[in-house]
Symmetry: C2
Amino acid sequence: MRLAPGAIDRILDSWPVARLATLGPDGAPHQVPIVFARVAGRLYSPIDGKPKRGTALARLANVQRDSRVSVLLDHWEADWARLWWLRLDGRARVVAPDEIDAGPIERALRAKYPQYRTLPLFADPPTLLEIEVGRTVSWSAS
Amino acid sequence: MRLAPGAIDRILDSWPVARLATLGPDGAPHQVPIVFARVAGRLYSPIDGKPKRGTALARLANVQRDSRVSVLLDHWEADWARLWWLRLDGRARVVAPDEIDAGPIERALRAKYPQYRTLPLFADPPTLLEIEVGRTVSWSAS
């Protein structure tokens, strides 16, 4: 079964976490959990103030080398009749908020994640991943 | 911060879900949630009786073409001080249970997932993904 279009919209507007897969320097897959907001059909994930492993983030270097990404959202629970997943295949680029009209994106991220009341929305320098979705694939157990 | 080795072992032995990234025919990343059990240092994920999208699973064709995979385990909650993730980079191969000594694997999967009391552990033909872990990378917020 696939997810209904309405369900996909609701998930993309409210689901708090996704997993981003990019391609490493040798073309091998690389994954990391991300937060994101959907604005005007694109997904935006900030490089935020959470502590990170290292300063030069692999996800940024990967996307700058090869823009192809996969974004996976899924629901896990012990009742497997309620499982679903949603995969977006697309292209990502690294943008600075001041390169684009980032006001709506920042507002969407702050509205979705109250954690940004105390945690900086951006690390230094302010950086966003912008993901253009090319293909949406979904699965639902029931 | 990294996860302590003891914490990594506990997670790999008990965490119920992971996300598997493989490489598609064009080398783009592909992701899907998986169940798995760790046996003798390797991860085993069955192609089980849950309904699937199509019969020729992309994850199997992908791994047979390019064995490089990434396996991501992570914890999400609203309290971001408690977030962590664990990423395993490795190689996967497709095996039939009767090619290997699959008894311990089947027992580990059935012990970890009571869902297999009612759902078939294997679809037809019985198939497992066997993942050899090359590198373990972890992150913990605190």
